[in-house]
């Protein structure tokens, strides 16, 4: 049973110290996410969504609790090992795209491969393939400032999936896009989830978008208050 879970969270707590006061961002979150799942995490701001995303994305470590990713305990790994895991297993998509300024879509997509010592030619091939998968064929050599919002987010998705991760984490990926473009982006996630069996975890507060997910986890005040399955 445990081995089937891509992600297993056991009583995850996160406490920030801001000066003298302590902020309990997560107050004991336990959950399991199977490989190939499509999960939406929902909740108002301050509910701990982002903190949970950062922990699942191995950008941060929990203060307490266990986090198993593909059966491996990652909550105690050091910064460099976490960087390796982010590189190999996780792809990030952000609300503000977070592409490198003044660089081409292709260069942005190549970035994760540069940090895993993939040979130059193979890097190029994989990046072209990822870009065509998100519908940016022909736009590879455009600089990020020459791309529309939707195109920038597509490039970001290409970057997230280029290293063939088991998990894509998207934090409000449609937040800076109009409804129609947002819909197109969500369709890409759906395609990746169904076609390539990549697990997608989406943070959003838009009901409509969350409806597409197989499963919705509602957070409030650092705790899971409700789970829905499609």
């Amino acid at each position: 049973m445990e081995n089937n879970n891509l992600i297993q969270l056991e009583n995850i707590k996160k406490i920030y110290k801001v000066g003298e006061t302590q902020v309990n961002a997560l107050k004991g979150v336990s959950s399991a996410i199977k490989g190939g799942d499509f999960v939406a995490i929902m909740g108002p701001s301050g509910s701990g969504k982002s903190t949970l995303m950062n922990i699942i994305g191995c950008l941060d470590r929990p203060t307490e609790g266990k986090y198993l990713l593909e059966g491996e305990e990652v909550s105690t790994l050091d910064k460099n090992k976490l960087a390796r895991i982010r590189n190999k297993k996780i792809g990030f998509v952000f609300q503000t795209f977070n592409l490198l300024a003044r660089t081409t879509a292709l260069e942005n997509t190549e970035l994760p491969l540069m940090y895993s010592n993939v040979p130059r030619k193979k890097t190029r091939d994989l990046a072209y393939k990822a870009l065509s998968l998100v519908g940016l064929e022909g736009r590879e050599l455009h600089r990020t400032n020459q791309l529309s919002g939707g195109e920038q987010q597509r490039a970001a998705i290409a970057r997230a999936l280029v290293n063939n991760p088991s998990l894509i984490l998207a934090d409000e990926p449609t937040g800076n896009l109009d409804t129609k473009t947002g819909k197109e982006i969500i369709d890409i996630f759906k395609k990746l989830n169904e076609g390539k069996h990549i697990t997608v975890i989406l943070v959003t507060h838009e009901q409509e978008i969350a409806q597409i997910a197989h499963r919705r986890i509602h957070l409030r005040d650092g705790q899971i208050i409700k789970e829905e399955h499609a």
Partner: protein
């Protein structure tokens, strides 16, 4: 990331801010250029001195009157006129490590030929003067033992004097007047050239010392110094000892009393000059290094600005899997590439600068491979040293905060 990729990324980052990169590198360019140009002046002076001493002969010794130090103070040559032609004779006869001696009487005098007037140094010397000084007679002959003995009024001209008085005409057999006394010119010496801004060695006239004593100085019993050549360079120390022993006897100096003369050999003189040019090189190089240091601080400053500007980029790179050391190397590579490019341009500037100095100031300059390699290495170390702190700062950023940074 491997090294080639890191360098490529660094080059691209630098080319994005070409003007800024250039201005930052300018500190290094000027620093390296200044080090190379300044050191080339020192090294030029050094090689000049070496060449000069080499042409004089390394087995050369000088005896001057006056003790080496008198009451803690260096007594200059000729303080006491107590060397005699007999001293020279005694040295030649009794010191077996000595090959030639030449008693010298030096003075300055006005020299006239026709309507030409020239003030120059007059060197009274023995017949072996040219052999000791390793000096060739270009035209005519040098005076011989007989001419010295009889105190003939003959003169051998330094090439500059010949040039000034005769302007290319043949001086041999002509009569010149030294202090109104007529001398016939019998020879012209080869050009030795001037050395590092010192007085020209070709601006002088050699006459028999006996003539100089009687006609120009009026002290027939004294000489100002004695030039001596040892039988070989290896024998100079031995020759020095023998000369000192003989002169102590000649001058009746009691055991334990201080010498009233001093013997210097060319090796000592060369060494003391080498020492002073070395000091010059260090001084010039040291001053120039300060500008390289300032250039390094400029690099650190700009790298710190660059890190702050690119916090978001660092966050993005970290989120896709860059480790601390990837970020560290990326920024370090930028600093090193910047300073090495500055170093290369600085070397070019330094070589150009030293040529310019040579042309304008007329000094001999010498750019050695060693100083180029050293300057380049120094520039690289400046990059590492001043790039490390900003790079480390970048690598220690927290990815979450970096991603959130506006």
């Amino acid at each position: 990331m491997n090294i080639m990729r890191t360098i490529r990324v660094a080059l691209r980052a630098l080319s994005r801010n070409k003007m800024r990169s250039f201005l930052t590198a300018l500190g290094i360019i000027i620093g390296v250029g200044a080090v190379i140009a300044m050191v080339s002046i020192g090294q030029g002076a050094k090689s000049n001195v070496e060449k000069r001493f080499e042409s004089m002969g390394t087995n050369l010794l000088f005896v001057h009157a006056g003790s080496r130090s008198f009451r803690g103070r260096h007594g200059g040559g000729g303080t006491y006129q107590n060397l005699t032609p007999n001293d020279a004779k005694a040295i030649l006869e009794r010191a077996d490590a000595v090959e030639y001696v030449s008693p010298n009487v030096s003075t300055r005098a006005q020299v006239i030929y026709g309507n030409k007037n020239w003030n120059t140094s007059i060197q009274g010397a023995g017949e072996n003067y040219t052999k000791i000084r390793n000096w060739r007679v270009e035209e005519g002959i040098f005076f011989d033992e007989q001419m010295v003995k009889s105190g003939q009024k003959v003169a051998v001209l330094g090439s500059e004097v010949s040039e000034n008085l005769f302007e290319g005409a043949d001086p041999i057999g002509q009569i010149i007047r030294i202090k109104k006394i007529p001398f016939s010119v019998i020879g012209v010496l080869e050009t030795k050239g001037e050395a590092g801004g010192w007085h020209s060695r070709d601006d002088m006239i050699v006459i028999p010392y006996t003539t100089a004593q009687r006609r120009l100085v009026g002290r027939p019993d004294r000489v100002s110094s004695i030039d001596i050549s040892a039988v070989s360079a290896a024998k100079t120390a031995e020759a020095t000892e023998q000369i000192e022993e003989i002169l102590r006897i000649q001058h009746k100096i009691a055991p334990g009393a201080e010498d009233d003369f001093h013997v210097r050999n060319m090796a000592d003189v060369a060494e003391s000059f080498a020492e002073s040019t070395k000091t010059l090189t260090f001084l010039l190089g040291g001053i120039a290094s300060v500008s390289l240091l300032v250039g390094g601080i400029g690099i650190m400053n700009i790298m710190l600005v660059s890190v702050t500007e690119r916090i978001r980029e660092i966050g993005i790179r970290m989120s896709v899997g860059a480790r601390e050391r990837d970020i560290l190397f990326q920024f370090l590579a930028e600093a090193i590439v910047l300073s090495l490019l500055g170093g290369i341009l600085g070397i070019i500037l330094g070589i150009g600068g030293s040529r310019l100095i040579a042309r304008i100031a007329g000094w001999q300059t010498l750019v050695s491979m060693g100083s180029i390699a050293l300057a380049f290495l120094f520039a690289g170390s400046v990059g590492v040293f001043f790039g490390f702190y900003p790079a480390r700062k970048a690598s220690k950023l927290d990815p979450i905060e970096a991603l959130r940074y506006e």
